[in-house]
């Protein structure tokens, strides 16, 4: 059988395992990824099965994690770094932005850094400060990186393997609050969409919702809940490079577009989607591309996050606006 029902966390774990079995150069490194198996259990059991030299409990320093991963990659390894929570990637920002992203150009293509940086992201789990952020826009603005986000167990399973085999550095965002959602996982990689491809998660005719990561499920539920309109949901999957063809053909069909992400709207990734879609589909649009997202504030204490985070109602409210425009 080629499908199995797994949680997103478990699917990611299985994908990692597959990659490690397939290529002895794949090493996993990060805080608590070894004996503990990661705070979200994504690396559960890997150290036991592959040993301490391939699953490394690192010192508590993110710049060190990415910086040494770069060195390992230069020696021919394929490191997979786990950043424990979104809010803790910033100590590594310098290594990611100025080294990981730029090494290939710097070396005229003589060096490549097949490094994967896994970042559990997003809120909705009632966590403490710094544990619910959506920093993707800081990376999509950085040439040299591939930035992808999975929204379901099947993509988790395939994307991690595709990311590891990708010769470019990949920032992989994992939807924290969906780690325990279960779904059938397609185990046959050849059937999966390529890493750079967006997919239509739900077909519709009247309006296009663009989302990725945790918001895909929210958008699907909104589309489901809306009786009056036929809503198409596109799972962006690859934030950089963006699969324009899939996005634009959807918007050209529907003539309306709403972008949804948890990150603050201001200067967020949704701005790029809105600007690009508008430029390419100017005459197709019945209304401006609207953006639904977090406010332009730091992530609030968890008792306020329900108001901060886009939900079904806020998505449909934006849909209403595009029709009322």
């Amino acid at each position: 059988m080629s499908a199995e029902t797994l949680s997103l966390s478990r699917a990611m774990n299985e994908g990692l395992r597959k990659a490690m079995e397939h290529d002895p150069k794949v090493v996993v490194m990060g805080e608590d990824v070894g004996r503990l198996g990661g705070v979200f259990r994504v690396t559960d059991g890997l150290q036991k099965d592959f040993g301490e030299s391939r699953v490394i409990d690192t010192p508590l320093a993110e710049s060190g994690i990415v910086g040494t991963a770069i060195g390992l990659a230069l020696r021919g390894y394929r490191p997979v770094c786990e950043i424990q929570f979104d809010g803790f990637v910033f100590p590594a920002f310098n290594q990611i932005t100025s080294q990981l992203a730029k090494m290939r150009l710097r070396s005229l293509g003589m060096l490549e850094l097949p490094v994967v940086v896994r970042i559990p992201f997003g809120g909705g789990i009632g966590a403490a400060e710094h544990h619910s952020e959506s920093p993707e826009a800081y990376f999509t603005h950085t040439g040299g990186l591939r930035v992808v986000a999975c929204s379901n167990p099947s993509d988790a399973y395939t994307m991690i393997q595709q990311a590891i085999s990708c010769p470019d550095p990949v920032i992989l965002f994992e939807p924290k609050r969906r780690y325990w959602d279960k779904a059938p996982v397609e185990l046959d990689l050849s059937r999966a969409a390529p890493l750079g491809r967006a997919v239509v998660a739900r077909e519709g005719d009247d309006v296009t919702l663009l989302a990725y990561g945790p918001m895909v499920k929210t958008c699907l539920e909104a589309a489901q809940a809306d009786g009056s309109r036929s809503i198409e949901v596109v799972d962006i999957r690859s934030l950089s490079p963006l699969d324009e063809a899939t996005v634009l053909s959807s918007v050209r069909k529907t003539g309306r577009c709403v972008v949804v992400h948890e990150a603050p709207v201001f200067s967020g990734y949704g701005a790029e989607l809105a600007a690009r879609v508008t430029e390419r589909c100017f005459y197709d649009l019945q209304a401006p591309v609207l953006r639904v997202g977090g406010f332009s504030t730091p992530y609030p204490p968890s008792r306020l996050e329900e108001h901060y985070l886009p939900d079904l109602d806020r998505v449909l409210d934006a849909v209403d606006q595009t029709f009322a425009w």
Binding site: P24, K25, E31, D32, G34, R35, L36, G37, V39, G51, E52, S53, R54, D57, T58, P59, L60, A61, S63, G64, G87, F88, F90, P91, G126, A127, A128, E129, H130, A225, F266, F295, S296, T297, P298, P300, P301, S302, R303, L304, H307, Y308, D313, R314, L316, D317
Partner: protein
């Protein structure tokens, strides 16, 4: 692919029970002398420390229970580290400034923070519950290591003010690996800043033992930067007080920074979301149980006849009341106001936020009219 045995692991590791440990009170409550350190404490003062320890432990236990019952989103227990926190915090003068990480509930107690305020952020109603200036205790810092640089900068401010205040920065064994903490050591040494770096080595950074951070005792990190480092028995409240007080005095008198490594143990889980059974053995916890920071003071007070059963009963009763009061106050905490999403982001009015706030209000308003 394997690691060549000869090259794979570091030769040295953090010593289990190191000789260089400063101790004034043995695990079974014997007062011992130390050539460099003494605490000129009266019997009453020692009884006061005992009271602190017992109440701090009780409040921690209550918070832990509240977390287990879902009244707090998460709780990082300080159990086992009471002496390190009470001893160091009681060495502070009122004007001294303390920069905590997220586990310094015992420090908050000593700085006079209203007990329930310590719970606010863990209940998710705000990110920090108390007024840092009222208590000279900075807000908690969750991003590992960041506050150590803030403390160093603050100490540079103290130098420029020309006052005799000192600063203490709390951080953990894991934090010692962060670039920020080491940069703080560079700054403090070069600036000769009046600061005490107080590292609670509780042996664990979540699931990672201290030897994943350093192959030599952490207090020796200071040698690399040119200021003194000392390891103190972190379960000995008298030693923690004496060592911290001396370090603070040195800071005041222009002798610059000191690194204090309080050798202690995290008796509980990292937080209520953690399961230590996945990475450490019960035997290790039991061994440390014998070095309990509270019991040894109780034993001393008894043996030395400094305190009677009556005293212990009073403290116990007070602690019980503190615990139930904490629970009562916690459950009574009001949820935050919606406006707090925007209220404290900027000092002055901010067009973008004003716009967001207004739009969201009218959005919420729309539900009153129609409902989907």
């Amino acid at each position: 692919m394997t690691i060549d045995a000869a090259r794979g692991r570091p030769p040295g590791t953090v010593a289990e029970s190191p000789p260089e440990l400063v101790r004034l009170l043995t695990p079974d409550g014997e007062r011992v002398e130390h050539p460099d350190y003494d605490v000129g404490l009266t019997a009453e003062e020692i009884k006061g420390l005992y009271r602190d320890l017992v109440i701090v432990r009780r409040l921690d236990a209550e918070a832990l229970a509240l977390a287990r019952q879902g009244e707090l989103a998460v709780w990082p227990s300080l159990r086992g580290q009471e002496a390190a926190q009470v001893g160091s915090a009681r060495a502070l003068m009122p004007g001294d400034m303390a920069f905590p990480s997220y586990r310094e509930h015992g420090v908050a107690w000593c700085r006079g923070v209203d007990r329930v305020r310590v719970l606010c952020s863990f209940r998710g109603i705000n990110h920090a519950g108390w007024d840092p200036r009222e208590h000279n205790l900075h807000v908690p810092t969750i991003v590992i290591g960041s506050q150590v640089l803030h403390a160093t900068g603050y100490a540079m401010g103290v130098q420029r003010d020309g006052t005799e205040d000192a600063v203490i920065a709390y951080f953990g064994d894991g934090a010692s690996s962060e670039g920020d903490v080491n940069e703080a050591f560079v700054w403090a040494a070069v600036q000769n800043a009046p600061i005490v770096f107080f590292c609670q080595n509780n042996q664990w950074a979540i699931s990672e033992p201290a030897e994943r951070q350093s192959r030599i005792p952490l207090y020796r990190r200071a040698d690399g930067f040119g200021f003194p480092g000392v390891r103190v028995d972190g379960n000995d409240v008298l030693a923690c007080l004496a060592v911290t007080r001396k370090a603070l005095d040195n800071a005041r008198s222009g002798q610059g920074p000191t690194l204090v490594e309080a050798f202690t143990y995290r008796m509980g889980a990292h937080t209520t979301t953690d399961d230590p059974n996945r990475y450490r053995l019960p035997a290790e916890v039991e061994a440390w149980q014998l070095k309990d920071p509270v019991e040894r003071v109780r034993a001393y007070l008894l043996k030395s006849g400094t305190a009677t059963g009556e005293f212990f009963d009073e403290v116990e009763a007070e602690a019980q009341d503190a615990g139930s009061d904490l629970r009562r106050q916690c459950l009574a905490l009001p949820d935050p106001d919606l406006d707090e999403l925007w209220d404290h982001v900027y000092a002055a009015e901010h067009s973008l936020l004003a716009d967001e706030r207004a739009r969201f209000a009218s959005y919420l308003g729309s539900f009153d009219e129609v409902s989907r």
